[in-house]
């Protein structure tokens, strides 16, 4: 959970199809997204053709927080699929809608340009280094998803977020296949 992410293996892979199976298993129906180069091919492309998902393409990431909140009134679960830069952009909406209202919001955040084999906190990129500390200070449970073995955490973490009515974040380390 919120321990610093392990240094990632330079070997290994991350299956986009397996991530989506885990998301579906948690009852996610809607995907709210601004395209992220990191996840565009491995996640968003298959989502866009998968009849089990309803994809809502938005213009800016903060919209997703409002839409996700509205969906809750029909008991619809959603996945917010964005890049870490969009996460940073949407900070006030995450603060005000997800955190302060204690709403179950599931964010999958692509760590674009993170070096393979390097943990986010050790990245050369300032923007990547600050993502985990920001989530921690906001009290948002986070999971680092870098290898196929990490995917097993997704479904139970989403179920807990809904059961406890609070947000959760999955940081996508390497580019999903």
């Amino acid at each position: 959970m919120n321990a610093p992410a392990k240094p990632a293996d330079t070997e290994g892979s991350l299956s986009g199809a397996a991530i989506l199976r885990a998301v579906k298993a948690a009852g996610i129906e809607y995907v709210l997204s601004v395209p992220d180069l990191h996840t565009a091919k491995g996640l968003l492309a298959p989502i866009s053709t998968d009849k089990d998902f309803k994809l809502v393409r938005v213009c800016k990431e903060d919209e997703t927080l409002g839409i996700a909140a509205g969906l809750l009134y029909g008991d619809k679960r959603s996945l917010i699929l964005i890049q870490y830069t969009g996460f940073l952009y949407a900070m006030n909406a995450i603060r005000g809608v997800a955190c302060e209202q204690k709403l179950p919001m599931v964010m999958m955040i692509g760590l674009l340009s993170k070096e393979v084999g390097v943990a986010p906190q050790d990245s050369k990129r300032f923007g990547l280094r600050i993502v985990e500390p920001i989530l921690d200070v906001m009290g948002i449970e986070r999971h680092y998803i870098d290898l196929d073995a990490d995917i097993a955490a997704i479904t139970p973490a989403i179920e807990r977020a809904y059961a406890q009515s609070r947000p959760v974040a999955f940081l996508i380390g390497r580019r999903p296949s």
């Binding site: 213009c59 927080l65 996700a68 509205g70 809750l72 009134y73 008991d75 909406a93 809608v97």
Partner: protein, 188 residues
Amino acid sequence: MMNRTACLEILKKTITDEIVISSYSTASEWIEMNDRPLNYFSHGAMGLCSSHGLGMALALPHKRIIVLDGDGSLLMNLGTLVTLAAAAPKNLVHLVFQNGTYEANGGHPLPKRDVDFAGMARSAGFKRVHSFEDSRNFEQQIGAVLKEEGPVFADILIEQGPLGPRSYEEMYRPERRRKLKEVLQAGG
């Protein structure tokens, strides 16, 4: 140019079982005149009123959703017009009260006051777009507008209302959101 309170009084007489989503100054006036379980007060981040509305419209296709937005708020989330038009929920009506100011933030003017929001909505892809400048037309037409197939957009030109301070505590109580969900789950 109309008075917002008068517009809201007309809306109050027109609506029945719709969910009404509002924020800031409009929400303050709406709750004073029409406190009901099917009200939802958008808060957490300025500008997201219509995004909350889109989520509800998608999740509750059998319910009519009326969003009461402000021009300052809409400018903070202008992409929402494109998102709404693309998602095209048939049960969503987006009304924007345009007074050219950040009324809830002290009444300072928007960077530009005479923005053509109706034109923007058309360009974004809304098929049904209306503009209201006088209360007579508004009163005559709003009932039909609210029943049109969505997404519907209407720009309502109003004068600036009274400046705050306003308290939002009452409308933002979590109990209100719980009550709304209970009513919806009970089929309301």
